[in-house]
Structure formats: structure tokens, C-alpha cells
């Protein structure tokens, strides 16, 4: 396929879509499928078959539309007006279809178009979500898919591409926030006979599903971004590493890669240029640490997924010792829009140091949970109370947890903080990959810290001592604090251990594992002290039914348990 053929295909597909009387977009991503989207799809297909409507309309099984707590979602466009119906049953869906076809769409169940959930979002990465069938490459192409790649291959030099990315101000969306353009240039300038591009789709933070959604909803966007990166840095081979818990993402990516290869958009002589680029899928085996770039690469190479010390950085020595560009899936998903619409356009979104948008998985104690994309710099208050619609059942906002097990809790007094890399870091949390958990007054902070520490303890690979043993010892101390057997010295020991693990661990997992503890100690120290000194859990979560060691002799009754039950 060449540029002309690509344009033709896009036009043909657009024409076909316009010729249809009605297109129904059914959200067919994991949350909506689990809410019953499959039955809706079957009902719609039966109705179409029964009434022989196939020539007039089509049902598009799309990727995620966003308000996941309201699924299954069905969207139609009638006379240029868009309607999204929530919690659709198969019967309602048939009615929506029939009325929509007749030109007088029903209003029951339709979400108002101007609700802040939609109105306050800016969709760059998720621009195609909800509008295309991720399994159909022509849908993607009709919405400018691979147009940026075609332009880049014929009109730009690799150096220009890197500089454009640099100019856009795009920073790594995996959490670190390293300037993408700088990284691309490093790999481009590394002299080597072979280079690699790797997309990190090993999203493991509890409650986060940004990357999964991108891969499931718009796989071609990721592939196009990787191919552009390959051209820019001089790589002919790319790997996309998907965690094993995401079979749907893996299946959709596999199909997307095959389709793109068939169309000549990947493989040898991409779009009739001299550029070759293959992408292979690698599926992880369920280790959180493989989201760490050096561990991910050891896993791709078929070894035990454990990190190796940096330096050398992957840009100097990555896969099989060759320079490797590794970016997060969301970072790659930003690439095509940047090159398609220009770095300046992209840099128009966000703040001075954090450009563009960020996808968040908004969950926890919030009315509208789901997947959102917002411009960088938006306040936390807007996210939680505008887009999220506040807390349900009159709950009091206590904290927002960002960055998963590597992040921290942001208390209510900082609700007006702009969400960008620097501001969050100043508060002792991190942007992370985009998990955002809202907590109300029934969350106990030492208990939250214990939850994340247990996660890190279970996910530690075991290579370095501070992380392998330190996380267990920190967990034991947190367990003591939350079960009532802690003594005041324990808090000091815990803080000292946090410092050690943070400063001496081998990789990011260990370095950031103490963050939830340090951060909650910073803002909620009184809660820790209440547990230890007053034997009281202010949130009423912890049982506190154990006794500190030195007080054991006074608890003769409880002592019996040592004879009988242990």
C-alpha cells in the first residue's frame, strides 16, 4: 500500500459509513462486556437479521467510552446530534435502534450531552475510543489512522521527527515523566547496527486500566506510534509487552498487527518506502516488576523477569545489548496525533512543564467512575467533583490516591493542586501511570499504606535485599500498627526502613515502595499515633485486638491463647 491507496481506502470507508442510515456504537470493552454488552449485541444483531436491516445500518462494537460505572453504553448519532444511553438492556437497545432509524430517537436513558463527565474531558489519546471497531483497520484508517506514519515516512527525516516530539513537550506517561523527545534522540544518536522499540503495556497498578483500554480500543494508534518511533530512532523491530492478565488486549493487538502487515502498514517496505518495521507481541506472566523497564526487557529476552542496575540505560544498552527505545503504551498513543496535527497544537494543551493530556482511571468513592482523559494542569477538585460527580451517599472526601503502590494520598486541603508531574511530586505522590482512587472518611490511612505495602511485598522480585526483606519488615510493622500491638519505637523503625528501601533498592519498585507510607505519615501522622498511643482507629477500620509485647503479662486472659490455639 502506498500513500494514495491509503487515502483512497479512507475515503471509501467514510463514504460507506455515510451511506448508512444509522450507525450504533456499542461499547464493547471489558467493563461494559462484564455489565452485559454481549447480550445487547446479540439482541441488536437478531433484530437486524429479523427485519433485514443490514443494508441500512451497522452495529459497531467499539472500545471504551469512559463512564464505565454506567455500562453497557450505546451511542447513536441522529441528524448530527449524539446520544449516549446508559445501562442499556437488550430490549431498550432494540427500541433505541428502531426509533433512531425512524429519525426520532428516544430520550429515556440518554445521558445529557453536556454533563461535565464528557464536557470537561479533552480527548487526544482516546479520540477514537467509542467511534471505531478496534478489530477493523478500515475504521481506524477512516479516522486518519496511519496518516501520520505516511506523512513522516515521506516528508520528514528521523531527526525532524525526534525534534518534533521534543518540541511537543511529551513526557513519559508510564509515571516517570522523562521527556520523550530527549529519549528518542538518545536512541537515534546511539551508534549500533541494530536497535529496538518497546512498548510497555505491563500495566500493574491496582485499579489502573488506562493502557489496557488504549490497547483494546485503538490498537492501531499504538502500532502507528511505535512505527513512527522505529523510523525516528532507526529500529526495524518493535515489541509490545502486554501483561498476561489482558488477554483481550493481546488478541486485539495480534489481529491489528496482522491486519496492518497485510495492508503494508507494517513489515517490509512500509507504505512503499525503504523503511521496514516488524512488531511482535510479548505476553507477560503476571509479575508487576516486569513493568520496570529493565525487568521487562529481560523478560522479552526470555529470562527471569528481574531488573538490572542502571546505568547503562536502555537507550545505551537494552535488548540484547542494543540501544532500545522503551516507552509506555499511552506515550506511543500520543505520537500520531502530535505528528498529524503538529507539536505546537499538542503543546497548546496542559501546563508549561507538562504538555498534553493524561488518561486516568477514576475509581473508588466517586459517583462517575471510569476512564477519563483530561488536560494536564486540571485541578484535582475538577476531576473528583466535576467529572467524577463527587462522592456518593454524601461521603466526605478524605484523600485521592495517585500513582498506585508507588504513589501517595493527596488530602483534601490540596484539592486545588493542578495535576501535573511536578505538583504531584511536591505533594509526595506521583503522576504514575494514571490510577486515581478517591477515598472517603471510612478509609484508614495506615491500613491503606499496609495494603500497598503488602502488594509491593508480594510483587518484589527478590533480587536485592532492601526490597526483598525491607518490604516484609515494613509490612510487619504496619501490621502491628493496625492490629494494636505496636509500640512507639516502631514508628521510628518504620520511617528509618522507608529511607533505606527508598535509597538503596535496585529498581523503581523498591525505591518507590515506601512512598505510600511516607506520604500518609506526612499528612496523617495523627492517625498513626492514635493507633499506637490511644489504641484507636479513627476511621473505624482496624480491629486493634492484639496487645503490645510488654503489656502481655497484664492480659492474663488473652494469654491462654498461647497455650491453646497457637
Amino acid at each position: 500500500m502506498n500513500l494514495t491507496a491509503l487515502t483512497e481506502l479512507a475515503e471509501q470507508e467514510l463514504q460507506r459509513q455515510q451511506d448508512l442510515k444509522l450507525r450504533l456504537f456499542l461499547c464493547y470493552s471489558t467493563p461494559c462486556i462484564s455489565a452485559g454488552a454481549e447480550a445487547v449485541k446479540v439482541a441488536l444483531e437478531e433484530l437486524i437479521k429479523e427485519q433485514d436491516l443490514a443494508a441500512q445500518l451497522e452495529v459497531v462494537a467499539t472500545g471504551c467510552m469512559g463512564p464505565c460505572s454506567r455500562g453497557p453504553l450505546l451511542r447513536i448519532v441522529v441528524a448530527g446530534e449524539e446520544r449516549t444511553y446508559e445501562k442499556v438492556t437488550p430490549e431498550q437497545a432494540c427500541e433505541i435502534l428502531l426509533h433512531g432509524l425512524a429519525g426520532n430517537p428516544i430520550e429515556t436513558g440518554a445521558l445529557p450531552a453536556d454533563i461535565p463527565f464528557f464536557a470537561r474531558q479533552t480527548k487526544i489519546v482516546l479520540g477514537n475510543n467509542g467511534w471505531i471497531d478496534p478489530g477493523k483497520i478500515e475504521h481506524s484508517i477512516a479516522r486518519d489512522g496511519y496518516a501520520a506514519l505516511a506523512y513522516v515516512l515521506h516528508e520528514m527525516s528521523p531527526e525532524e521527527v525526534c525534534n518534533e516530539i521534543k518540541k511537543s513537550g511529551l513526557r513519559g506517561r508510564g509515571g516517570g515523566g522523562y521527556p520523550a523527545g530527549v529519549k528518542w534522540n538518545l536512541v537515534r544518536k546511539s551508534p549500533a547496527e541494530r536497535k529496538y522499540v518497546v512498548a510497555n503495556g505491563d500495566e500493574g497498578d491496582p485499579g489502573a486500566y488506562m493502557d489496557r483500554t488504549i490497547m483494546e480500543s485503538d490498537p492501531h494508534r499504538v502500532l502507528e506510534g511505535m512505527a513512527i518511533a522505529g523510523y525516528a530512532v532507526g529500529a526495524e523491530q518493535g515489541y509490545i509487552y502486554v501483561r498476561g492478565e489482558y488477554p483481550l488486549a493481546a488478541a486485539r493487538l495480534t489481529k491489528a498487527i496482522r491486519d496492518a502487515e497485510r495492508c503494508g502498514l507494517l513489515g517490509s517496505r512500509v507504505l512503499d518506502s525503504s523503511f521496514n518495521f516488524r512488531i511482535d507481541l510479548r505476553v507477560g506472566a503476571g509479575a508487576f516488576v516486569c513493568g520496570e523497564e529493565t525487568a521487562l526487557m529481560t523478560s522479552i529476552m526470555g529470562r527471569r523477569g528481574q531488573p538490572v542496575p542502571r546505568p547503562p540505560y536502555p537507550a545505551q544498552s537494552g535488548l540484547w545489548g542494543y540501544p532500545t527505545l522503551i516507552n509506555n503504551v499511552e506515550s506511543f498513543a500520543n505520537v500520531a496525533p502530535i505528528l498529524h496535527r503538529g507539536a505546537d497544537w499538542f503543546a497548546g494543551f496542559g501546563t508549561e512543564k507538562s504538555k498534553g493530556t493524561k488518561v486516568f482511571a477514576l475509581c473508588g468513592e466517586v459517583v462517575n467512575s471510569g476512564l477519563i482523559e483530561v488536560p494536564m494542569g486540571i485541578s484535582l477538585r475538577d476531576i473528583v467533583f466535576e467529572i467524577g460527580g463527587g462522592l456518593p451517599d454524601g461521603g466526605q472526601f478524605k484523600a485521592a490516591q495517585t500513582g498506585g503502590p508507588s504513589g501517595g494520598c493527596i488530602p483534601a486541603e490540596y484539592l486545588d493542586t493542578p495535576v501535573d508531574y511536578e505538583s504531584l511530586k511536591e505533594l509526595g505522590s506521583i503522576m504514575g501511570s494514571g490510577g486515581l482512587i478517591v477515598m472517603n472518611e471510612t478509609s484508614c490511612m495506615p491500613d491503606v499504606a499496609k495494603f500497598f505495602m503488602e502488594f509491593c511485598m508480594d510483587e518484589s522480585c527478590g533480587k536485592c535485599v532492601p526490597c526483598r526483606v525491607g518490604t516484609v519488615e515494613m509490612y510487619e510493622l504496619l501490621k502491628r500498627i493496625t492490629d494494636g500491638s505496636a509500640m512507639l519505637g516502631d514508628l521510628e523503625t518504620l520511617e528509618e526502613l522507608c529511607g533505606l528501601v527508598q535509597e538503596t533498592s535496585l529498581c523503581g519498585l523498591g525505591m518507590t515502595a515506601p512512598n505510600p507510607v511516607l506520604n500518609t505519615l506526612k499528612y496523617y501522622r495523627a492517625e498513626y499515633l492514635a493507633h499506637i498511643e490511644e489504641n484507636c482507629c479513627p476511621a473505624g477500620v482496624c480491629q486493634l485486638d492484639q496487645v503490645p509485647l510488654l503489656k502481655l503479662p497484664e492480659h492474663a486472659a488473652e494469654l491462654a491463647i498461647f497455650k491453646e490455639e497457637n
Binding site: L550, L552, P553, K563, N566
Partner: protein, 173 residues
């Protein structure tokens, strides 16, 4: 008449250990004679005092904290002693005494008092002080000032520590 310098009050305690450290202490031989000129041994397995005395200057504690009785004694040691020394590996690390830690207490007692050819039967459980889930090094129960390792600590090492303390020098092992 020249003033007689006040003698230091020394206590030695035997918690969960084999008393090997005390044997090593006795191996100080003739140093013991010098020692009694400078200290009063006010409590210990070698002294017939039942209650831990007050105002002890130096207390050598052998053994791990393994039951509630140990724990109570440890508390009074701390509140009545100026200087507490973890005396030997069991007090410092738990050592051999703590090798039972991976076995649940119930299994442990069953094995010893029910299954084995023990001289006393199940009723003895009633009079035993309750065992802690784990045998602990002394410093996990109370604050310890000096650690004197060894299984047992060699008499020379004990002598070095004690003479340093009596001469008011820092203990450097």
C-alpha cells in the same frame, strides 16, 4: 580513715538459655576474686534472692525472652538497672532458643509433654508460664545498652567487657 569506694551492684539473670553463658562467667576463675572486691553480686542463679533488687548498676542477661515470666522479669530488670547487657547469643539474637520459632507453640507443647516420654504429663501445662509465639532477643522486649555476643562468650571477652565497665572505659569488643 580512708573512704571505702562504694561497690557496684551486679546482677546476672538466666532467661531462656542453657546457662552456658553463666558457666563461661564462672570460668573467669581468679578474676572472680578480684571482681567481688569491686562488685556485690546482688541477684542471679548463683544468689539466693527471689525478687529482682532495686538500684542495680550492671545486669548481665543470659538467654532469650521466651515466656511471660521472662517478659515480666525483663521489665523489672530494665526499670531497676542502670546498664543492661545482652549476655551471649541467645539474648543477642535468640540463637538456639529461637530455633523453635518456626514451630507453632501448640505443636511444640504437644510434642514435648504429650508425645514424648516426659516425666510429667499434660497437667504440667497448667503450671508452665505461657510461652510467647516466638522466643525473642532481649532488645525486642527492653532497651539494651551493650551486646556481648558468643555462644557462650569467651571468658576473656566477658572479662574485657566487665573490666572496661568497672574502669569506666567504653566497651569495645
Amino acid at each position: 580513715m580512708s573512704q571505702v569506694p562504694k561497690k557496684l551492684r551486679l546482677a546476672t539473670v538466666w532467661l531462656g538459655g542453657c546457662s552456658g553463658c553463666h558457666m563461661s562467667f564462672l570460668d573467669l576463675d581468679e578474676l572472680l576474686i578480684e571482681l567481688v572486691e569491686k562488685v556485690d553480686i546482688v541477684y542471679g542463679p548463683l544468689v539466693d534472692t527471689k525478687k529482682f533488687p532495686e538500684e542495680v548498676d550492671i545486669c548481665l542477661v543470659e538467654g532469650a525472652v521466651t515466656n511471660v515470666e521472662n517478659l515480666e522479669l525483663a521489665r523489672s530488670i530494665r526499670s531497676n538497672s542502670k546498664l543492661v547487657i545482652s549476655f551471649g547469643d541467645c539474648a543477642v539474637t535468640g540463637n538456639v532458643t529461637s530455633m523453635r520459632n518456626r514451630i507453632p507453640v501448640k505443636d511444640l507443647l504437644t510434642a514435648v509433654y504429650h508425645e514424648a516420654q516426659a516425666p510429667i504429663g499434660a497437667e504440667s501445662l497448667e503450671v508452665l508460664p505461657a510461652l510467647l509465639k516466638k522466643a525473642l532477643p532481649l532488645h525486642q522486649a527492653i532497651k539494651v545498652d551493650i551486646y556481648l555476643p558468643g555462644c557462650p562468650p569467651a571468658p576473656e571477652r566477658i572479662a574485657a567487657a566487665l573490666t572496661a565497665l568497672l574502669d569506666n572505659r567504653p566497651v569495645d569488643l
